[in-house]
């Protein structure tokens, strides 16, 4: 009877101790897992910060390019306008020359020499644009 009591008391005292040890091991394993995950996240975070800095520089460079191109387009506007006027003037003259070539042999000779012809499908210019081509 005494033996039974002693055995019973031993099993009661070793019960909670046996729970603490696996619990501690489990928590430790989970802590190690979490630490590895946190390290990985930290590395990813550093990488993303580096990428952010690079992208910031890239954005700065693109903004600068955009500004330069905008200025270049503006600078050329005067030249473009001048070119448009020149082209319109010549187009008008060559269109008149094409019209004249219908009745005049000399004008026809020049038109044929330079192969001046009206461009097809020009909706904005009903009279059509005359495009001169250099002699072959």
């Amino acid at each position: 009877m005494e033996d039974y009591t002693a055995e019973d008391s031993t099993s009661q005292s070793s019960g909670p101790a046996n729970i603490h040890l696996p619990l501690a091991l489990l928590a430790l394993a989970f802590a190690i897992f979490l630490f590895a995950q946190i390290s990985s996240l930290g590395q990813n975070g550093r990488s993303m910060r580096w990428q952010t800095e690079n992208l910031d520089r890239q954005i700065g460079s693109l903004v600068e390019s955009e500004k330069n191109l905008g200025n270049l387009v503006k600078q050329r506007e005067a030249l473009v306008e001048q070119s448009q006027q020149v082209q319109a003037r010549y187009t008008e003259m060559l269109t008149d020359l094409i019209k004249l070539s219908e009745t005049d042999a000399d004008a026809r000779a020049v038109v044929e020499k330079y192969k001046i012809q009206r461009q097809q499908g020009q909706q904005t210019a009903p009279a059509a644009t005359a495009t001169p081509q250099p002699t072959p």
Partner: protein, 107 residues
């Protein structure tokens, strides 16, 4: 008693690390969103630059075309017309040239 202390300490560590993990995760998600925004911004800038380059190209084509007309083809045509007008005394061509401010004179 020491075993209880060890298990409590490791469990507390695990809880703290869990919180740290969550915070790191949120921070990374925020960074990820920032990167995405920056990439969108870059794409927008690239599209604008592409459009400006096309505009420049169109301008250049117009300038080249006008330059060719004004420096090569145009003067040759006018010279030929003036020569024919003088040679054949062609009044129609003289009127045409005069309309555009050109007057042919024999040397």
């Amino acid at each position: 008693m020491p075993k209880q202390l060890i298990s409590t300490a490791t469990c507390s560590l695990a809880v703290l690390l869990s919180l740290w993990f969550l915070m790191s995760n949120w921070s990374n998600q925020s960074l990820q969103r920032g990167l995405q925004n920056q990439q969108d911004e870059i794409q927008t800038h690239q599209l604008t630059i592409q459009s400006q380059q096309q505009q420049l190209q169109a301008q250049q084509q117009l300038i080249d075309s006008a330059s060719q007309l004004a420096n090569q083809v145009g003067p040759s045509v006018i010279r030929d017309l003036a020569t024919l007008q003088l040679q054949n005394k062609n009044q129609k061509i003289a009127i045409l040239l005069k309309k555009y401010g050109i007057e042919a004179k024999a040397n």
